[in-house]
């Protein structure tokens, strides 16, 4: 990692970054209202807030991607106006985006060095770039071949590439917008270590996360945003995660996970035997009972997503699937949907919702057949369904003709849940249900999931957040490199046991 050539002026009174009265409007809508913020060199400054509070917008302004409508930004006491992200980068400010922004057809190394290729004269030096990229990713605890095209990587691997890319520029202030949302504990830990390292070198860090314990662990200061306003800035040592949650949501979030009656020994509704998805998962067998919430844990690339997709017919797979004792075989999703299985993709923007279409279209897309009357789609019934879904899933939207892409992440997740529930499935598979979602919404989503189980539906939760699995599930299956390597339940449901199974390393300190 390189440092900015122009080191901070020594012992200067002016802070590295000072923001005063910053406001931002999109058209008539004000998203940020008079934000005052001071970021000191050598500090990790966390920004927390609900989905849609304005965190990403603020970060985009600070990194030159957006222009503020009002207010002033000073660097080292000097007022600045960024002409664009490249200008901000020249001043040592880099942003690690919340959404993954990489060119899928280019290799890892080409992406890492995109726009700032190492060149000898006219010719780009691929060897040096491959080496540099490999080294940068390794420092983040990852191991990715730099010559692989990014399109072939998992979301977690892409996130690592993106972070590596950002840290390669000379930097004085690094902004991480939810970097850990799709990382597993191992990588998260490596990233936190990197952040500690760069802080030690005098770099300032702005850090956004919905994982509050992580914030507590790494931050020096915590700033809370709510509805575009800055609520408070405090020293991290003075606030506990519970306080943070209260400050963000404006109420107490004492109990994140709902109480549930044990599923006990009810009948098996789904039985998977010797399921293989070539290249991703081998010989997986498990059972799911009525009213049960079954967790799937594992490291990045363990093959959980692919196993589920193979099972429901989204990708080619071999094996036996029995529904209520009857063997079935799904060659496409339509069949499994008809049989009462709904799968919610982890990639809600890419595979879950049509971002450029309105809520109604998205809600009924998978279950349009129910809305057809006299050969046409009954729009009145669609509207009624939307009203019902908005009420039932507490989708926060002012207007019902919004586009799905205009909802905040949490509300998109709720819409996706509502969309799949329109199928009235008896088995629901949710992949990463709360990725990038604020704590208040998380609580709601957990409540929905528990409610569904209580109605007698069976649920599989695939997640990289172990506390979530532990808090929500009756049993947890752990996968490692394509195999189900164990099950934890009851008293054994704790992070340590899961990590041991997921990594295959006996000593506890692996995670």
């Amino acid at each position: 990692m390189s440092q900015a050539p122009s080191a901070a002026p020594a012992e200067n009174a002016a802070p590295l970054l000072k923001v005063a009265g910053l406001s931002k409007s999109f058209g008539p809508v004000q998203v940020l209202k008079g934000i005052d913020l001071t970021v000191e060199a050598g500090q990790v400054h966390a920004i927390i807030g609900e989905n849609g509070a304005g965190k990403s917008t603020l970060m985009k302004i600070l990194s030159g991607h957006l222009q503020p409508t009002d207010g002033e930004i000073r660097i080292d006491g000097q007022p600045v106006v960024f002409s664009g992200p490249v200008d901000a980068e020249h001043r040592g400010i880099v942003l690690v985006h919340q959404e993954i922004l990489l060119a899928p057809d280019l290799t890892v190394a080409q992406n890492v060095y995109l726009g700032r290729e190492i060149a000898k004269g006219l010719v780009v030096d691929d060897k040096a770039m491959n080496e540099g990229a490999r080294k940068a990713i390794r420092e983040l605890g990852g191991d990715i071949d730099p010559t692989v095209t990014v399109g072939r990587l998992s979301i977690a691997q892409r996130q690592l590439v993106q972070i590596a890319r950002s840290l390669l520029v000379p930097h004085r202030l690094v902004i991480f917008d939810e970097p850990t949302a799709s990382l597993t504990p191992v990588e998260t830990e490596a990233l936190l270590k990197v952040i500690t390292d760069i802080r030690a070198k005098g770099t300032a860090v702005l850090y956004i996360s919905h994982r509050l314990p992580e914030v507590k662990l790494i931050a020096d200061k915590v700033t809370v945003l709510r509805d575009g306003r800055l609520v408070t800035t405090r020293d991290a040592k003075d606030v506990e995660p519970v306080d943070m949650a209260r400050l963000m949501v404006g109420r107490d979030v004492a109990k994140l996970y709902p109480d549930r009656a044990a599923a006990g020994t009810r009948e098996v509704v789904l039985e998977v035997e010797d399921m293989s998805v070539p290249g991703y998962a081998e010989h997986a067998s498990f059972q799911l009972r009525k009213g049960e919430i079954l967790g799937f844990a594992g490291l990045v690339g363990a093959g959980r997503t692919e196993l589920m997709e193979g099972m429901v017919g989204l990708r080619p797979g071999r094996g036996t699937v029995r529904l209520a004792g009857k063997p079935v075989s799904f060659t496409n999703v339509h069949d499994s949907m008809k049989a009462g299985i709904a799968y919610l993709s982890e990639d809600r923007k890419g595979k879950g919702l049509l971002l450029a279409k309105d809520l109604k279209v998205n809600l009924t897309l998978a279950s349009l057949g129910r809305f057809v009357r006299w050969g046409q789609v009954d729009r009145t019934r669609e509207r009624e369904a939307l009203d019902k879904a908005i009420a039932e899933f507490d989708i926060r939207t002012g207007r019902k003709d919004l586009l799905a892409g205009q909802l905040s992440g949490g509300n998109q997740q709720k819409l996706l849940l509502a969309k799949m529930m329109m199928l009235d499935p008896s088995i629901i598979i949710i992949d990463e249900p709360t990725r990038g979602i604020d704590i208040g919404t998380k609580e709601q989503i957990y409540k929905f999931i528990a409610g569904l189980a209580a109605e007698g539906r069976s649920i599989i939760v695939v997640s990289s957040e172990m506390p979530e699995l532990i808090g929500l599930c009756d049993r947890i299956l752990v996968m490692r490199t394509g195999h189900i390597v164990g099950e934890v339940a009851g008293d054994h449901m704790n992070e340590n046991e899961i990590v041991v199974l997921a990594t295959g390393v006996q000593t506890g300190e692996a995670a």
Binding site: Q30, V333, L354, L365, L368, D401
Partner: protein, 334 residues
């Protein structure tokens, strides 16, 4: 709630946006009508306008089908050749005298044309979906095939409708009028109305737009992506067949050059009508308007006498670019 307010305002803006985008082609059409009136006073005569609308029928009807294909993220370059192929086979059938009664001959020929059109469309669809070949190349291939087969059928010459009874019975399908409005104009309106109903009102139409909008999302929502896409090509084939059925009585004959370049005109009509080539949006009425625009541009240039005929093509090209620029600036200003 602030979030609500924000959302509301945004939605309003985007609605306005959508409206303007849909209205833009009609504005362009209106401007052209004014321009035409200045170029030649005969232009705005009812006769001339009806003439122009009537002969835009072929492209308009084909372009309705193209709207489906393009909305679903595909492309069909073979439609021009398909017109030649379907029309040739249909005329050959009518000449064969397989059915003796003229009325029945025409009915049977119509059914045959529709079947052949659907089959050609199905072939295009299967090659792109099952064969997973990019639509541009797949339909470029079938374009060669359909035109080659036409050349072979005609043995290099023309295929002409011979039976005079059939001819005189069939003629009104292009040249006839109902309440003073030529019959092909009704066909345009009916085809577009059915197209609009299917695209906007039915489940299938919703699926078409979803597939064009994001194939993965459609797939994960249980939509049979390949089938939906293949069907758009079949619809395109059906539209081609309908166009053929009003084309045959007009010229009564086909040759290897029938329908040359019509694919480009149809695609241009679709795009000028406001449908984006990347898929996900389809504007049937805009497409019909686009087809009118293309035909009117040609008509104005023929009626006006100040353009060297060598420059016709150049000016037509320039007008298309200007029309698109006007549209863009209209939409951007909103």
């Amino acid at each position: 709630m602030t979030e609500t307010a924000a959302a509301t305002a945004k939605a309003k803006r985007s609605w306005k946006d959508v409206d303007l985008r849909a209205v833009a082609p009609f504005v362009a059409l209106a401007l052209l009508l004014v321009l035409g009136a200045f170029a030649n006073p005969n232009f705005i005569s009812v006769d001339n306008l009806l003439n122009v609308l009537t002969r835009s029928a072929f492209i308009a009807i084909i372009a309705v089908g193209a709207t489906f294909v393009i909305s679903a993220g595909g492309l069909d370059l073979s439609v021009g050749s398909m017109v030649a192929f379907v029309a040739s086979l249909t005329i050959l059938f009518m000449n064969s005298g397989a059915v003796s009664d003229p009325t029945m001959t025409i009915v049977a020929a119509a059914l045959l044309a529709i079947a052949i059109g659907a089959a050609c469309g199905l072939a295009n669809g299967l090659i792109t979906t099952v064969g997973r070949i990019e639509p541009f190349i797949a339909t470029l291939g079938t374009m060669g095939i359909y035109r080659g087969l036409t050349t072979w059928l005609s043995q290099g010459g023309a295929i002409t409708l011979r039976n005079p009874d059939v001819q005189s019975l069939y003629r009104p399908v292009y040249f006839g009028e109902i309440f003073g409005v030529p019959f092909p104009i009704y066909v345009i309106v009916i085809t577009a109305a059915i197209g609009a109903f299917v695209l906007y009102r039915t489940r299938y139409g919703r699926h078409v737009v979803a597939v064009g909008s994001n194939e993965d999302v459609a797939h994960y929502s249980g939509i049979p992506v390949s089938r939906v896409r293949t069907l758009t090509y079949v619809i395109q084939g059906l539209c081609v067949a309908v166009a053929c059925l009003i084309y045959i009585p007009r010229l009564g004959s086909t040759s290897a050059t029938t329908g040359l370049m019509w694919e480009l005109q149809a695609i241009t009509a679709v795009v000028v009508g406001g449908t984006a080539l990347r898929g996900g949006v389809g504007r049937i009425w805009g497409t019909v308007c686009g087809a009118f625009i293309l035909e009117i541009v040609g008509n104005i240039m023929l009626l006006s006498n100040f353009v060297s005929e060598y420059l016709l093509g150049a000016i037509q090209g320039a007008i298309i670019i200007i029309a698109m620029l006007v549209q863009r600036s209209l939409v951007r200003k909103s």
